[in-house]
Symmetry: C2
Subunit: 210 residues, 2 copies
DNA sequence: CTAACCTTTGTCCATTCGGTCAAAAATGCG
DNA sequence: CGCATTTTTGACCGAATGGACAAAGGTTAG
C-alpha cells in the first residue's frame, strides 16, 4: 500500500509520520519553508531521505499537513474567549494563555510567522477562511462588551491584532528580546515579566472610563 | 580597480551599488536571506549576475551592507524619544512614527523580521550592541518618567517591546491583517485605524493612576 | 515455508544556486 | 586617435537540492 496516502493504515505509519512532523516542525520553524531541506528533516527524524519521501511524497505535503494540524492548537486560546465571562478577566486570561504558548510552543509561532512574512503563499486560504471567521465571531463578542460599557470602546479587530503581536513577539523575536534584555534579565523570567506588563497594559488600557 | 571595494570611487559605482541595494531590499524582504537568489536580485536590478557580483563579491556582502544602512533608519524614531518632552505625548508620537514606518517602509521591517526569526545569524552583534545600547538609554528616560509619576509604573523594556510588536505587526503580518479585515476594512484606512487604536491603548494604559 | 505486502536504502538525475574567469565592450584620458 | 582602466557578459564549475526508482530487506498470514 502507498505510504503517503492521506489515511495511514498501520501503526508504524502513523508513528513514523508523527516523527517526521515533529522533526519538520523543528526544521521549518527555524529556516522557513524554502530554507529547509528534506535532508535536514530526514536527519532530524532519524531516517534516510528516500525513506521520508515514502511517507510524504513531496516537501510541501509535509508542510501543509503540519500547518493544518497546528492551526487548531494555535487558535485554541482565542476560541476559549467566553461571551459569558467577565470581559477584563477573559481578555486577561487570553493574554496569559498566549504568552504561555509563546513560551512553551515558540516553534509553532515561528512557523506561522515565517509563512506569513513571506506572503502566506501556502496558507492564505486558511487566513481568509477559518481564521477570519473565528476573529469575526470574537469581534462581535468584544463589541458587545463595549456596547454594554464593560470595557472601553475601541476597535475589536485591532485589539486582537495587538494581543497577537505583543504575545507572539516573545516567540518570534526571542533572539532580539534576549539580546536587548542582556544576560541578567534575559533569563526565564522574561515571560513572567512580559505577562505582568501586558496584563497591566491591556487591563488599564481597556478599563471603561468615567 | 576592484568594483566591490568598500569605498566606491566613481559615480557609476556609487549609483549601481545603490540600484543593487534597492533591488536587494525588495528581494530579501520578501524571501529572506536564504530564500533569495543572486539571480533574482540581479534581475530586479536590471543587470546580469556576474555584473552584480562585480559590485558585491558575495551575496552576504549585499545583505550586510544593506542591513547596516537600514538599521539607522529603523531606529531613528526611538532615537527621537525626548527626555524633555511630555511623556505621554512623546510616546504617542513614537507610536505614530512607528506606524507610519510600517506603512511607508514595510520592506525594511520585514527584512529585520526575517533575519531575527531565523536567529539573527548575521545581525546578532548589532542587536547586542547598538540596539541594546539605545534601548538601555531610552529605558532610563522612561523609568525617570515613571519615578516622577508622570506615567504609570511598569517595565520600560517590555513597554518598548510592545510598541515594536504592535506597530511592526502591520508591516510584517500585513497579509494576515488584510485577510482578517477582509476586503471592506482591509483598505488603506487600516493604518489610520491601527494608529488610533494603539494611541488610545497605550495612552490609557500608561496614564498615571490615582 | 512461502507468497504477498510493507519498509528501507543506494543510486541516480535534472535543476538551481553561489561563485569564477577570461574575454569582450565601454569608457576615460593624454 | 590610442592606450589603460573600468564595466559587462557568456560560458562554465562544483555543490546542494527535490525527487524518482528499482532493488533489497522485513514482516505477516496462510
Amino acid at each position: 500500500m502507498e505510504g503517503s496516502a492521506a489515511r495511514p493504515r498501520t501503526r508504524i505509519q502513523t508513528q513514523k509520520r508523527e516523527t517526521i512532523l515533529e522533526a519538520a516542525l523543528e526544521v521549518f520553524s527555524t529556516h522557513g519553508f524554502r530554507g529547509s531541506t528534506i535532508d535536514q528533516i530526514a536527519a532530524a527524524a532519524g531516517m534516510s531521505k528516500p525513506n521520508l519521501l515514502y511517507y510524504f511524497r513531496r516537501k510541501e505535503d509535509i508542510f501543509t499537513t503540519l500547518i493544518q494540524r497546528l492551526l487548531d492548537t494555535w487558535l485554541a486560546p482565542l476560541r476559549e474567549l467566553d461571551d459569558e465571562g467577565d470581559p477584563l478577566t477573559e481578555l486577561r486570561s487570553y493574554i496569559r494563555r498566549k504568552i504561555e504558548m509563546a513560551r512553551d510552543y515558540p516553534r509553532e509561532s515561528r512557523i506561522f510567522a515565517n509563512e506569513i512574512l513571506q506572503g502566506a503563499p501556502r496558507i492564505l486560504p486558511m487566513l481568509e477562511g477559518e481564521l477570519k471567521q473565528l476573529v469575526d465571531e470574537k469581534a462581535v463578542i468584544i463589541r458587545g462588551w463595549m456596547r454594554s460599557g464593560r470595557i472601553a470602546r475601541t476597535d475589536p479587530y485591532h485589539l486582537i491584532f495587538s494581543i497577537w503581536a505583543t504575545t507572539q513577539h516573545y516567540a518570534d523575536f526571542d533572539v532580539q528580546v534576549r539580546a536587548v534584555l542582556g544576560p541578567d534579565r534575559g533569563g526565564d523570567g522574561r515571560f513572567e515579566d512580559a505577562a505582568r506588563f501586558l496584563e497591566q497594559l491591556f487591563v488599564d488600557g481597556l478599563r471603561p472610563k468615567g
